[in-house]
Assembly symmetry: C2
Homo-oligomer: 539 residues x 2
């Protein structure tokens, strides 16, 4: 058989040749909707490549992108990876210190950025001296005044070269992309995606039970490109010849609803908070989504009410999705197997809330200290994974250093798997409460406490205990003007949980700490409260 | 990223773990329907591996299979490839001499065969001395008396070992399968499939516009496993978790209709002649196929009447498929693009008769002496291809020896591609009539002649001509008791073709020569008639 390497640029070449006229629709950062197609994305990506080479960029160099999802951003990715350089998408919602940290860690030589992020870049420019040039993803008319080094408007920069260029073949194990985890427990860690891993993940994700994109689909990618490689949608869509719709900077309900309706979107995906807004917006206007067939919800579990609203009101299939940067990123998607398709009511809703099943090439395993744990839906263990798109080592570390003896990567999640292979995440391993050798899921307990009508938000941590090692305590925020008491909540939990899960204390606070990506910052809570029980037991 | 090789046995491991209870239904060669599942296929494949090793089979050894499509045959494939040996499926419809030739060429050490092929094997056993052992795919009760060396019933052979075995990882470029072309122009030529090429082709073929198999599909694979790796269905189905139905030795309309109806098949695929019988059988009984959604027709073009019958009578989508052993094998499948979905009537039928579009990883190019030919639907050229599942060299030849300067494999077909990327094969290159530097498609001309109601069969070849190099002549078989004349046919063609396409002569014969796979044997016709015009012009 021929030696034909799995390279990212082969994807846009295929889309250009076989689906050249297929639209790529972006809401530009300047505002208006901009329509292009795969042929033009391909042509402009070739110009990006040629222009980068003219700037002295070499294979292996890292190039930062600080941008919302647009066709400009997309063509930069293909242009960067096409010459063997590495695109490094940055989450603009990270703390400024973290952004500077990861740019220095990556030693990015160039930064592509939206005009809206120029002031953010100026704020850190002095601290990221390795960045030689800033290319602002706009034209001369919209180019802001800036003090950034060698700043240039993207269209001017591109106009300095022509498209007379061809991509070469090279080893598919060469790195194409560098992504950093958000790092709730220390410094952000880098994950290098190879061309091979991106292409294989896009192929696996395009199977019918996963994304199942086809050339007749119109795909609205709400998850930003800087989140775990945009769930590979920037590759899966052109690979399948699906029309790609990119929302730019506006992920508000009005803007997204407009795209869903006007572009006749058939498939979309993003985090739950985004969809909550869209559902309310549409309901207020009594609108439905007649073209939308399927929606992927990931990042955090989707509430039952959201699944019901999509299913009943819009006749849309909801598929929960589970991934992480270290897993390439799609680990599992929840579609309905023949064994489960006759489930109804809450049983079907409960199924749809699980993280689902892995595609071919993602091996999952749950284990505890005694070895592999049975797939029975109740026994929980550490979720581990193996496959060609799964991390082997964090950026800068020895190959294999993130793997156990069997070559599996520990996801840091605690999960059950039922007999049909559906994964349910029960907790992050570090957030589990280990009480007398048994595990209590902090997430399950938090969700139960938050079901109380007077509770606004709640966190559960394991506090040190002289007899049980750890016992769960709740740190909760009351809803405004709701004087709910500790005893109220304990009686509310009574009967809903095993006795030994009952929290040893409930502490009310004004607010809870969160990370830059909006998750509960349990590290902070643990340092504040881990000795709480020792203190009150001693007193 | 992790080093995880693309190996055939990873497919059945995935199916066993994630879709273990999914049924694999075979019509056994003994007759009754046999139901197993992916878990059991996996377990028994591991036993095949262990047992082969006990017989001294080593990585790289070739193992022949002479068998219809059954779960036994399937588990042999996984068991053979799982230890790095090479399965070599043999088409029992080849001439006996060809079968002996390819077994010797492959130097097969073991043969797995159906009980029904024991006498065929006995006929050639003396001429294939390298085959050390014959394993008959049956149990002791159904084992025929035989003189074959070391013959053993499969179930007895398997029972001599247990399943305590695990497959190892090895380089994905290792060969898994050896297939021989049917060789109309000389000796059959071998094509070695690597594990990588099989896995990648199965992934590509599982995309929505190609097979689009999902876990809710029931897939009836009518194309035999010995035809071009069974169009990769033996891998694509377990990869997707689809139920797999295998027809064994019976591809007659009654047997296939029974499987289609009883197993509630949703997707099927095979050659046109098979479907013609099924359609008639169902129509006579006034039955429809309510579960069947899609059907793939390949091997030769599907007649319009067949497409119409499936579409109108059974509400089944027909997708033409084009592949060849040298192409891994699926080169293109005809699904409807958004640009073409509004076509109606004959325009849609004409689209559905084209060979369709290639998936990602199959690059197609048409070229003539002046270089690449435009994709305009009318300009024809040599169809060439590049990709990780495309042949680089025939078995035993130097790597790359089947490729041109650009690394493309010449398929030997002449094709047009329209502006939407749909390929239409117009002729085999060697069958083109080259008249005064212009091409005349022998296939197009044959089809027109065969449209005449009094013509049973017709072949067109290029006969040598002193002025035009070649001119088309027709060799035709009349229908019984239909005294059609040369002039009748020439007037019938008048107005349907360009004047210069008009055949220079029409010769009537009693019958035409065919190859072992039922195609017109044009090599024989050319030797008999290539000087026909020179002779009559001289006389």
């Amino acid at each position: 058989m021929q030696d034909w390497q799995l390279l990212c640029h082969r994807v846009i070449e295929h889309a250009s040749r076989q689906h050249g006229d297929r639209r790529v629709v972006s809401r530009s950062v300047e505002g208006p909707i901009k329509v292009t197609n795969y042929r033009q994305v391909h042509e402009r990506a070739l110009r990006v490549s040629k222009r980068l080479l003219a700037d002295g960029i070499a294979p292996g160099d890292r190039i930062a992108t600080l941008a919302w999802s647009t066709s400009n951003h997309l063509e930069c990715w293909f242009g960067i990876a096409g010459i063997g350089a590495i695109y490094h998408p940055i989450n603009p919602r990270l703390f400024v210190d973290q952004i500077a940290f990861i740019i220095n860690k990556a030693e990015d030589r160039v930064m592509f950025l939206d005009a809206g992020f120029v002031s953010l870049a100026e704020e850190i420019a002095a601290r990221i001296p390795a960045v030689e040039r800033y290319v602002v993803l706009t034209d001369r008319a919209n180019m802001p005044e800036t003090t950034l080094r060698n700043a240039v408007a993207y269209e001017d920069w591109l106009a300095e070269t022509d498209g007379d260029f061809g991509w070469k073949s090279f080893d598919e194990n060469v790195a194409a992309s560098l992504a950093f985890t958000s790092g709730t427990t220390g410094e952000p860690k880098g994950v290098l995606y190879s061309h091979r891993s991106i292409v294989l993940m896009s192929l696996a994700a395009n199977s019918r039970d996963m994304y199942g994109f086809g050339s007749n689909d119109v795909v609205l990618q709400v998850v930003p490109m800087f989140h775990a490689n945009g769930w590979t949608w920037p590759f899966s869509a052109p690979m399948a010849g699906a029309e790609l719709v990119l929302p730019g900077a506006r992920m508000d309900p009005e803007a997204l609803s407009e795209l869903l309706l006007n572009e006749r979107v058939t498939i979309s995906g993003g985090v739950p908070t985004v969809w909550q807004g869209v559902l309310s917006y549409l309901q207020e206007r009594n609108q439905t989504l007649p073209d939308l067939k399927r929606i992927y919800i990931g990042g955090s579990p989707s509430p039952m009410s959201m699944i019901t609203a999509f299913t009943d009101r819009h006749d849309v299939e909801v598929r929960s999705a589970f991934g992480m940067t270290e897993m390439g990123p799609m680990a599992a998607i929840c579609s309905v197997l023949p064994e489960t398709r006759d489930l109804v009511g809450n049983e079907m809703l409960a199924l749809r809330q699980t993280q689902g099943r892995p595609p071919f090439m993602v091996e999952l395993r749950i284990e505890n200290d005694d070895g592999e744990v049975q797939w029975n839906g109740t026994s929980a263990g550490h979720l581990k994974s193996r496959g060609p798109c799964i991390l082997s080592a964090y950026y800068g570390n020895e190959p294999g250093s993130a793997l156990d003896d069997r070559g599996f990567f520990d996801t840091g999640d605690i999960a059950t798997v039922n007999r049909h292979g559906y994964v349910r995440l029960t907790d992050r391993a570090k957030d589990l409460v280990k009480s007398g050798g048994e595990w209590i899921s902090s997430v399950d307990l938090e969700n139960l406490v938050m079901d109380h009508p007077d509770v606004h938000e709640a966190a559960v941590i394991g506090a040190k205990h002289p007899k049980w090692d750890e016992r769960p305590i709740v740190i909760a925020v009351r809803k405004k003007d709701r004087p709910v008491s500790k005893d109220d909540i304990l009686s509310f939990l009574d009967g809903k949980i095993a006795k030994w899960w009952t929290p040893d204390d409930i502490i009310f606070v004004e607010s809870l700490p969160h990370t830059s990506t909006g998750k509960l910052h349990k590290t902070v809570l643990r340092s504040a409260y881990e000795n709480h029980l020792l203190t009150i037991l001693r007193d």
